[in-house]
Symmetry: C2
Subunit: 305 residues, 2 copies
């Protein structure tokens, strides 16, 4: 049973292989990453963060980026996006054959400075040549804005600030901007306000949401975004991306939980939930802990019963 | 930031001391139960399930019902509800000085038969004299309907069936009926459809929702219910009531997570979130495991950092 006004179809941006794995403490073998990606695509995922071309000094887990890109079976119509922080990363991504990139900045000055060692304006200037080079080569650009519903250093973030950064990224050529509630503090009204502020500056079709479940709010926040027409959602298989040092602490909302909700709402994703949950357990078993996804755990418990 | 159309104020029905604890395997000392209740009321909880007067053969954890009722400090204006299954339970509740009772049936015939060994119609007939006796003594009656969004034996449950049972309970004198998604399979559209079907039969003010987080959907389902005007929500401090044998498996939605969402939405509950989270950790420590509430874990982690 649906709720009137929701999109009929939603794009799931699967973040597990990159955002989900990047903070894992132990090295995840390249073969496991490749199998994860293949299983996700087999389950119907059509848009995914594949790896990142960030310095291995900062993100050692993604040091095998070129190998991952070389070993996956590139299938037609699938968006294999890679994250790049700057021109150096862009060149490496191009050398590895990437056809779509992700770029990132923040809606919080303090967070931007801590994360990228520059102001938001400077980060945008750093990204401008990356966008120009990408567009000149026909490479698609998707952007991420972090801290859209709150910042660990500044607290509240004004929706107008989120909209300003989003508009700048769209103007630079990003075809979609994912609004990230990086620390998961948002509630449905805040996420909705951020989306609405952005939609006053750029077409709604260019806006995605990227919710974290740290405070358990992600699905409610996603529902609020769907209700204002957002039709692109970032999520991570099995909820990959929680802090691995804090058992039970959740990071990215689980794709499993999002797809379960969308299936129930009659919103199409093209994803087979059973295959997705099997993929959740595949990667969780490889990492040696149960998935953070309630759906993945409940479906396994139901099968066992 | 709020969403227009939501209630300004919501009643939280705290289920932890009864629904939350009833399936705990080890005996929880009466003193712990009493302290839990006192801490909840100190945190601003005004409506709570206190204990049940069910046969100790079936629910041994609630065998100290009369002691709990005798030892709590009854404060004016607080609803100390006790669950009763039949006239025998009702008499015992009255002997213990209860001023408000909870009664229960199901929207699924199969579930009703497994849980109470009779049909829905028979269960309603069994509850009728309980309601009559309660109302004759000025004792308030609240009712629970289980399986409103799905049944483990029957699958889908028609909203019309939920509405029929809800109307029957209201006609028998229940001032409020809590619609229980007992196995947590509901998604926002289903919960909304059940609420709307009921609201066509009884005033919306008489409808509460009781969501489980088994599939991670509870907050989204609660948001959907709030959006159609429901202003009474059942929840359990720290998410008490999950299956204690399955780590990470969640049952009742955590009051902590609900109050966090409502605070963010600007909806008043009268509950102090910090005190509530301290209570979550009090009872979780007593039970020897972390709370199932994301908010309780995240707030503690934030304090520690």
């Amino acid at each position: 049973m649906s709720i009137s006004g929701l999109p009929k179809q939603v794009t799931i941006w699967e973040a597990g292989p990159r955002d989900g794995l990047q903070n894992e403490p132990g090295t995840v073998p390249t073969a496991v990453k490749v199998e994860l990606i293949e299983r996700l695509v087999d389950a119907g995922v059509s848009h995914l963060e594949t790896t990142s071309f960030v310095s291995p000094k900062w993100v050692p887990q993604m040091a095998d980026n070129a190998q991952v890109m070389a070993q996956i079976r590139r299938r037609p119509g699938i968006h294999y996006q890679v994250l790049v922080p700057n021109m150096k990363g862009f060149e490496a991504a191009m050398a590895a054959g990437a056809e779509e990139i992700g770029i990132f900045t923040a809606a919080s000055e303090s967070f931007c400075r801590r994360n990228t060692n520059c102001s938001i304006a400077e980060s945008l200037e750093r990204l401008r040549p990356v966008c120009e080079a990408a567009l000149a080569r026909g490479v698609k650009v998707r952007a991420f804005v972090s801290c859209i519903a709150g910042c660990p250093f500044e607290g509240e973030i004004a929706p107008a600030k989120v909209a300003e950064v989003t508009a700048a990224l769209a103007a630079m050529g990003a075809y979609e901007v994912a609004l990230g509630d990086t620390i998961g503090v948002g509630t449905p009204g805040k996420v909705r306000a951020a989306v609405e502020a952005c939609a006053a500056q750029v077409p709604l079709e260019k806006i995605a949401v990227h919710c974290h479940d740290t405070y358990g709010q992600a699905l409610a926040n996603i529902l609020a975004a769907l209700e204002v027409g957002v039709a692109s959602i970032d999520s991570s298989v099995g909820g990959l991306g929680g802090c691995p040092y804090a058992p039970g602490a959740t990071g990215n909302v689980a794709t499993d939980d999002v797809v379960y909700m969308l299936d129930g709402l009659g919103v199409e994703t093209g994803i087979d939930l059973e295959k997705l949950v099997q993929t959740s357990w595949f990667i969780s078993d490889a990492l040696g802990r149960p998935p953070a996804s309630n759906v993945a755990r409940a479906m396994k418990a139901k099968c066992a019963a």
